[in-house]
Amino acid sequence: MAYDLEEQEQLDEFKAWWKKSGKLISNLILVVLLAYAGWQGYHYFQAKKSVEASTLYQTLVTTDTSKLADIQAQATKLTADYAGTPYAGRAAIYAAKVNIAANDHKNAKTQLEWAAKNAKESTTKAIASLQLAGILFEEKSYDAALKLLSSDSDKGFVGLKEDLKGDIYMAQGKKTEAKKAYETALIELDSQGRLSQYTRQKLESLGV
C-alpha cells in the first residue's frame, strides 16, 4: 500500500494520531451534522407555517367585512398561532381597519398595539403605530398621538408620520409646528406620489 519508506512513516504517524484524537473528531463532525440538520428542519418548519399563514391571510382579506366576528376570529388565530410569520402583524392591522370602520376603537387599538410591538416586519410595525396615532388623534388625545409619532421608527414611513403630525398640530391651532411638520413630510414623501399633492396644498393654506 505504501509507496516508499517515508510515506509508510507518515501513514504510521497518522494512524497513531487518529487513535489518540479520532473519537473527538468524529464526535465533532456528528455535532456539526446534527446542528445542520436541526437548522434545516427549523427552516422547513418555518416555511410550512408560512404557507399555512398565507392561505389563512388570503381568506381573511377576502372575507366580507360585515362579518366582523368572523374576521376577528381569523385574525386572532393568525396572531396567536403564526406570530413568527409576516402575516400575523398584517392580519392584526387588517382586523383593526375593519373594527375602525365599525366604530370599535377599543378592539382596533388592542390589535394595533399588538402589531406595533410584535409584527415581524419593521414596515408593518410602522404602519400599526401610524394608525394607532390616527385613532388617538380622532379621540383628541393629541399629546399621546404626537408622542407615538415622535418615537424612532422605520425610515420609509417618516413622511406619513410627519404628515399626520402636521394635521394634529393644525387641530391644536399650532400653525408654526404644523408648517414645520408638513415641510419635513414633503421632503420625505414620494415626490411623484399623489399624497404629496395633498400635503403641499395643506402647507400652502398656511401661507407659504
Binding site: 509507496y3 398565507s54 410602522a126 393654506s205
Partner: protein, 631 residues
C-alpha cells in the same frame, strides 16, 4: 512546508491540496472568476447582488417596446433621458429589494393558491373554463417552460402580497381626510387686476452711458455660439431605391401572394345552379351529375332567361334554390376557390360553363358588380414601389456595418466612403450645436462633431443612425469659436431691455402700494378687476398658472384677501380672494375620500420600497449609467 509538498507531489498531502483547489470550481463554476467582464458588469449592486448592464439593457428595451405597443412614437432622446434611466434602474433595484425581503420575511404562496390563480387567468379561459390546451400552446408560443412560468407567477403573487398588498391595510381617520379634502376641493372666488408694465415705459429714461455700462458688464451674455461648417455623407434606404431592380415577375408574384390585401371593396352578386355529388361519390355518380348539369346548361344556352326557373327546379343548394339560385353579394374569400375564380373572371349577365367544386357542378350567372377591385395593372406601380423600398432596406442593413467601418478606417476623408457607396458628399451652412442637432435630428451626432477627435483632429465622425434607415457621418470643414457681439449690434436691444426693467420696477412700486392699501381695507380706484370667477384646483376658469398658485396660497382667514406678484416683464398682478367655500356634496365627498385613500395606499407601497432601501446597501455605478446611452 513547501519542501514537504515538493517531496510529496505524489503523496496524500498533494491530493488534499488538489482537492481543496478543486472544490471552489466545482461549487461555484469557473465563471465566478470572470464575471466582471462584458455584459456581466454591474450597473448597480443591491446588498452585493449585481444588477448587470445586460439586465438593465433588457429593462430599457422592455420600456421601449411597451411604449411602441401603445402606439406611441418613441423619441430616442426620451429613452436616453437621465430621468428615464434612473427610474428604470430604480424599478430594478426595488424589485431586487422586495424579492430579497420576501425571502427574508418568509412570505409564501401555497401550491393551491398558485394553481387557483393560474386556473383563473383570463388568457387561458375558453367558454368560461380553464383550457389546458390553450395553456400549453400559449406557453410554447412564448418559449416558456411550465416550471418557469409557474415560478414567475408565484413570484408575482408574492410581490402582490408583500408589496401591493399593503394597500389593503390603509385606514385613515376622518379628521385626516377632512383636513386634506378641505384644501384639495376648496372653491374660491377670485378676481385679478394687472398693472401693466407697458404703461410706464414712457416715464423711463436710459442714458447712453447706462447702455454702455450694461454692455460691458454683461459681455459674456452677448455672444454668438461656436459654429461649424460641415460636410456629410448620408447612406439611406431611400437613396438606395434608385439602384434596386424589381422584375415584373416579382411584382406579379407579390400580387398573387397578397391578392386578398388588394381586393379593394369589390362585391359581386351571382346566382348558381348546383348539381351536387356526395363527398364519397363514385366516378359513375359524378358522371351522372355532370350529364345532368350539361343538360341544364344546354337549355340555358338556348334561353338564358330561364335561369331562375331552372334553378328553382333543379338546384341542389337548398339555401339558394328557392330564391332562383341567388346567392346575394360577396367579396373575395367567401366562396370556395374554383367558384370564386369563376365569378371574379366573368362579365355581368354572363353564364358560366360547368364549374366543378367539392360540392358538385355549378352553373353560375353573374348578376352585378359593386365597388372596385384593385386589379393587378392598377396596383402594379404601388407594389413595385413597395418592393423597391423593401429591397433598399435590406440592402441598407447589409451595407450599414461596412459604411460605419469605412468612415472609421479611412477617417481622413469622406471621399472613400462616398465613392464606395456611390454617395454625394454634401456641405452644410454654418450651424451652431443646437441648429445642427435640429438639422440632422440627432443630438448624438452633434456631440460627436464637437468631440476632440472630430473637431480638432479633423477626423470623420462615427456613423450615426440619425433616424431609422438613415446613417450619417460628418466631418468639420470650418470652425468659428464663440465670439462676442459688437456694441453697435446690440445697443438698441439693451436700451429696450433697460427701459423695460425700469418700467417693471415702477409697476411693482405702484402695485405694492396698491396692495398695502387694499390689505388695510382701502380702495384703489384705477385698478381694472376682471369679473370674479369661482375656481377650484382642477378648474382654473381660464386663469393662468401663477394666478392659480397665488389664489390658493392666500391666507383666507380675513376676506377679501389679497396677494400680488411680479409677472415677468409684463405686469404687476394683484389677486383677490373674496369667498372661500369648503362645502363638498356627499357624493363628491365619497369619491374624494376614496381618491385620498388610494393616494395613501400608493404612499404605503412606496414607503415600503424606501424602507427596504434604507436598510440595504445599494451602490449605483453612476458613470456606467450615464455613459450607457453611447453603446
Amino acid at each position: 512546508m513547501l519542501d514537504a509538498i515538493r517531496n510529496h507531489t505524489q503523496g496524500w498531502l498533494a491530493k488534499v491540496i488538489l482537492a481543496l483547489i478543486t472544490i471552489p470550481f466545482a461549487l461555484f463554476g469557473i465563471d465566478s472568476y470572470f464575471n466582471d467582464a462584458g455584459s456581466n458588469v454591474a450597473i448597480a449592486k443591491v446588498n452585493g447582488d449585481k444588477i448587470t448592464i445586460q439586465e438593465y439593457g433588457n429593462a430599457i428595451d422592455n420600456v421601449r417596446s411597451r411604449l411602441q405597443s401603445q402606439g406611441q412614437k418613441v423619441d430616442p432622446a426620451m429613452l436616453e433621458s437621465a430621468e428615464l434611466k434612473q427610474s428604470v434602474l430604480d424599478g430594478l433595484i426595488t424589485r431586487r429589494l422586495v424579492n430579497a425581503e420576501i425571502q427574508h420575511a418568509n412570505f409564501k404562496i401555497s401550491d393551491e393558491q398558485l394553481s387557483t390563480y393560474i386556473l383563473g387567468m383570463p388568457e387561458f379561459q375558453q367558454d368560461g373554463k380553464f383550457s389546458e390546451d390553450i395553456y400549453q400552446k400559449t406557453l410554447a408560443q412564448n418559449k416558456l417552460s411550465v416550471s418557469k412560468f409557474e415560478s414567475d407567477r408565484r413570484n408575482e403573487l408574492l410581490n402582490q402580497q408583500a408589496r401591493e398588498g399593503l394597500g389593503l391595510l390603509v385606514s385613515v381617520p376622518e379628521g385626516v381626510t377632512d383636513q386634506a379634502l378641505k384644501f384639495a376641493h376648496q372653491k374660491r372666488d377670485v378676481s385679478v387686476a394687472e398693472i401693466k408694465t407697458a404703461q410706464f415705459v414712457a416715464q423711463t429714461k436710459v442714458t447712453p452711458e447706462q447702455v454702455k455700462a450694461y454692455y460691458e458688464q454683461h459681455k459674456d451674455k452677448f455672444k454668438v455660439p461656436e459654429q461649424v461648417k460641415l460636410e456629410f455623407a448620408l447612406l439611406s434606404a431611400a437613396g438606395l431605391v434608385a439602384q434596386m431592380q424589381v422584375s415584373d415577375e416579382e411584382v406579379k408574384q407579390f400580387y398573387d401572394e397578397n391578392v386578398s390585401k388588394f381586393q379593394g371593396d369589390e362585391q359581386r352578386q351571382a346566382s348558381h345552379i348546383l348539381i351536387g355529388f356526395g363527398v364519397t361519390a363514385t366516378a359513375t355518380e359524378k358522371a351522372a351529375a355532370k350529364d345532368k348539369a350539361a343538360d341544364i346548361l344546354m337549355q340555358l344556352k338556348k334561353d338564358p332567361k330561364r335561369f331562375e326557373e331552372l334553378a328553382m327546379k333543379n338546384s341542389q343548394d337548398p339555401g339558394s334554390a328557392s330564391k332562383g339560385g341567388d346567392l346575394g353579394s360577396f367579396g373575395r374569400g367567401a366562396m370556395v376557390k374554383p367558384f370564386e375564380d369563376a365569378v371574379f373572371s366573368m362579365k355581368v349577365d354572363q353564364i358560366s360553363d360547368l364549374v366543378e367544386s367539392e360540392f358538385g357542378y355549378h352553373i353560375i350567372k353573374l348578376n352585378g358588380v359593386t365597388g372596385h377591385s384593385s386589379s393587378f395593372e392598377a396596383m402594379k406601380p404601388q407594389i413595385k414601389g413597395e418592393l423597391l423600398f423593401q429591397k433598399a432596406q435590406a440592402k441598407f442593413s447589409e451595407l450599414a456595418d461596412d459604411f460605419s467601418n469605412t468612415v472609421y478606417e479611412q477617417s481622413g476623408s469622406l471621399k472613400p466612403v462616398a465613392e464606395k457607396f456611390g454617395l454625394q458628399v454634401q456641405p452644410t451652412a454654418w450651424m451652431s450645436r443646437e441648429e445642427g442637432a435640429k438639422f440632422f435630428k440627432s443630438e448624438r451626432l452633434m456631440n460627436s462633431v464637437f468631440s476632440d477627435e472630430v473637431l480638432k483632429e479633423k477626423r470623420n465622425s462615427e456613423a450615426v443612425e440619425v433616424s431609422p434607415n438613415n446613417l450619417v457621418s460628418v466631418r468639420v470643414l470650418e470652425y468659428k469659436p464663440a465670439a462676442p457681439r459688437s456694441f453697435d449690434e446690440v445697443k438698441g436691444g439693451i436700451e429696450g431691455l433697460l427701459k423695460l426693467e425700469q418700467a417693471t420696477k415702477l409697476a411693482a412700486e405702484k402695485g405694492l402700494a396698491d396692495l398695502a392699501k387694499l390689505k388695510s381695507g382701502g380702495q384703489v380706484d384705477d385698478l381694472e378687476w376682471i369679473p370674479t370667477v369661482t375656481i377650484d384646483r382642477k378648474d382654473a376658469q381660464g386663469l393662468t398658472e401663477p394666478v392659480m398658485n397665488q389664489a390658493f396660497k392666500i391666507d383666507a382667514s380675513k376676506l377679501p384677501a389679497y396677494a400680488g406678484y411680479v409677472d415677468g416683464n409684463k405686469s404687476y398682478t394683484i389677486v383677490q380672494v373674496s369667498r372661500v367655500d369648503n362645502a363638498l356634496s356627499d357624493d363628491a365627498k365619497q369619491g374624494a375620500v376614496d381618491e385620498y385613500k388610494a393616494a395613501v395606499a400608493a404612499e404605503y407601497i412606496s414607503a415600503y420600497g424606501k424602507s427596504l432601501k434604507a436598510k440595504s446597501k445599494v451602490v449605483v455605478n453612476r458613470k456606467l449609467l450615464e455613459s450607457n446611452s453611447q453603446q
